[in-house]
Subunit: 241 residues, 2 copies
Amino acid sequence: MTEILSDTHESEERPLRRPEAPASTTLHGELVAALRDYIVEGSLADGARVPERLLCERFGISRTPLREALKVLAAEGLIELLPNRGARVRVFSAEDLHELFDVMGGLEALAGRLACERIGDAEVAEIERVHHEMYRHYLRRDLHGYFQCNQEIHGMIVAAAGNATLRATYDSLAGRIRRVRYAANLDKQRDRWGEAMREHEAILDALRRRAGSELSDVLFQHLRNKRKAALRQAEPAEIPE
Amino acid sequence: MTEILSDTHESEERPLRRPEAPASTTLHGELVAALRDYIVEGSLADGARVPERLLCERFGISRTPLREALKVLAAEGLIELLPNRGARVRVFSAEDLHELFDVMGGLEALAGRLACERIGDAEVAEIERVHHEMYRHYLRRDLHGYFQCNQEIHGMIVAAAGNATLRATYDSLAGRIRRVRYAANLDKQRDRWGEAMREHEAILDALRRRAGSELSDVLFQHLRNKRKAALRQAEPAEIPE
DNA sequence: AAAGCAAAAAATGAATGCAAAATCTCACCC
DNA sequence: GGGTGAGATTTTGCATTCATTTTTTGCTTT
């Protein structure tokens, strides 16, 4: 075994212990989060083997907690576990992404419906504020800023639904496409930009009127169009690093 | 260990590349399924500790794969993992169930919408068949038969959506309420029965017309009413075994 | 006698060890 | 020269072991 640089000189040091957050002090839990980020952010190639030993050294832990984390990530759908053949970064086919976008659309449609039932004027105003900020980015052709506001608005709608189960489900699925989203959305979508902006107007309009069912429809269609734009060019292209 | 026949001197057996069959070699995977059933079917009380050692003996395995399975089940939301305090069967509060029903409603709404896009007449006819069977159960006041048909119809709609990601998400969440559903739905819901039957008529009607958006609304409302009926009496009652 | 504290016992979390399977290497045979 | 197969190496899956942490139990003190 190669020597690992382990600075365990001061044996009485608190190991990652935070007096503020005793619930999240699960080494395993943090490991899952760390690994998830590691994979989502593309540190491993599509379909690549997940090297247990390497990651053990990378994170300074033994195989047991790592394998537990891999099981969880497999349950989340980020990796695949092949019997006796190790873990691989899951490759999302065009069909997978197709499905994923639809489910995200369904969840956002639900979020919009629920949000209309309980959202207050202040929250609507807050979303409007971000919407207008997004519009300014649109006018300036600042795609990055636009996209960030866009994400924020959708996140705010999900948050306004006030449903933690929905939030968790949404986040879990969002994690799967984040890998793709990095590369997919920032280039060729300029022609759809105006259309998306109009759709966002409709979203806000339905939200203002608390028209839940209508907002549900608009959001689902919005995601559909987003999917069309995203998958049109995600298919042939490879993810650049 | 047991003796293995390793006399491959002359019999040139093909190494059986990938006959597509032996995917069940995952002891761990089967363990997850077994444990999930074990918990879902109520073999452990609400909020009870999940006794590691006992289950190890129960399934004849060591703690390592069991703990991996527990991590997965925790990710699925069936149990809770408290740091240094073991696993507990997750207790679903009224609020949790409230949320869960809404998300299920959103997913069914999505399923209905997608189903309308791709379902064929034959499949609609098949759903109609089960619907009429359900109606016969309704006329006979056969609550059990009715409920089974009911479940089947909802399952068929999800299947007709043709979206594996949706199916997996739906099943995962359904697993959480199955524990509750066992006890919650079979008794006091008789007063809602007629209403539910009418809603199912509307569901089928919208499906026949392939009115996706409308079916989406009807399904969500249907789940909402189901929730109201289920939670009205699930709150005070305890789960009988 | 009840409350509090300390030590034992049990359980949890992680590391290591070990057998089986898969992968790789390379000499061998056609 | 190319395919083949036996052995070596790596990797995977699970069991066992070890160090903490929690919980229980019994004893002491007021």
